[in-house]
Symmetry: C2
Subunit: 151 residues, 2 copies
DNA sequence: TACTAAATAGTATTTACTCCTATTTGTCAA
DNA sequence: TTGACAAATAGGAGTAAATACTATTTAGTA
């Protein structure tokens, strides 16, 4: 079948589901069938799905699940460290007119984007694997966390 | 006055506006007062504004400007390289259940997010300037461009 | 000065969440 | 095993951001 790179196989998946169940209990979260289903669908793919994409998949198991549940669950997974959001997605688009070489730190709380410049980050060397396969238009070191005001 | 780090000063701003004007003509774009105003407002700040934030500022000069014009203009600036969108903004939120160390390449055309792993990117050393000032929760090397299918 | 394609204003629509509330369910303690 | 209760869910409403549409205006040019 469709046996791609980083997909979790069935045995692994069951083991990870058991671990996830413990993780939920430790975090004081209820182990609901919806939560399990969303978690498992996320692990079964390497396509980095959006909430909507997972919603469509989980609907096949729970036809009456709501998109809000999928969204809330994914945020919960992120909070307990069972999954994470891919950098570069979510939030409103922000613009920059500063064309000098520099990098950005984003505060996850107040959403400020703060410039900094660290020369070693200017010219990152890519592995041949990447530069041969893709047309890389942009390479960035991106930092995220709490700023001096929110820290 | 409020003379922050990377803000463009008035003399610089006028010079850059002249350059921008040429850049527009070279690209076959009309030099409209709205376009100039949006460009100048973007250069005057280091807060990495959203379209909405710039809209509020430009409205003081052109009270009847539409948000759509601001949005379109910013995308145009991005296309001709007069400005750019900050990484980590725009598009729907995407999730990842793969907790192993790895990095992402995003195709700007088909929006696919592709995993890769380059060990040197795993533990980026931050300058003291940053780690002292901020609580860094996440540091990533992020790549953007055209994938093998869209290239 | 007059023509034309490009750009804009204003509005409508779409997308991606986020919030709200009544109902259901997992957990725990009796 | 059952009952109480806080947590979670379904379904719908609300909101924010971006995009699409169309009539009107305007910059570039000839
Ligand atoms: Mn910047
Ligand atoms: Mn990944
Ligand atoms: Zn902050
Ligand atoms: Zn692609």
């Amino acid at each position: 079948m469709n046996n791609k790179n980083n997909k979790t196989n069935t045995i692994e998946l069951d083991e990870k589901t058991r671990q996830f169940t413990s993780q939920c209990r430790e975090a004081g979260l209820k182990v609901t069938p919806q939560r399990i289903a969303i978690y498992r669908e996320l692990l079964k793919t390497d396509e980095h799905p959006s909430a909507e994409m997972l919603y469509e998949k989980v609907k096949k198991i729970f036809p009456s699940i709501s998109l809000d549940t999928v969204n809330r669950t994914l945020l919960t997974l992120n909070e307990i460290g069972a999954a994470f959001t891919v950098v570069g997605s979510g939030d409103a688009r922000r613009f920059d007119g500063g064309l000098h070489e520099h990098q950005h730190f984003r505060c996850v709380k107040c959403k400020r984007i703060i410039d900094f410049h660290h020369k070693p980050f200017d010219n990152i060397k890519l592995p041949a694997e990447i530069s041969e396969k893709f047309t890389v238009l942009r390479k960035t070191v991106y930092l995220e966390g709490l700023c001096n005001l929110c820290g």
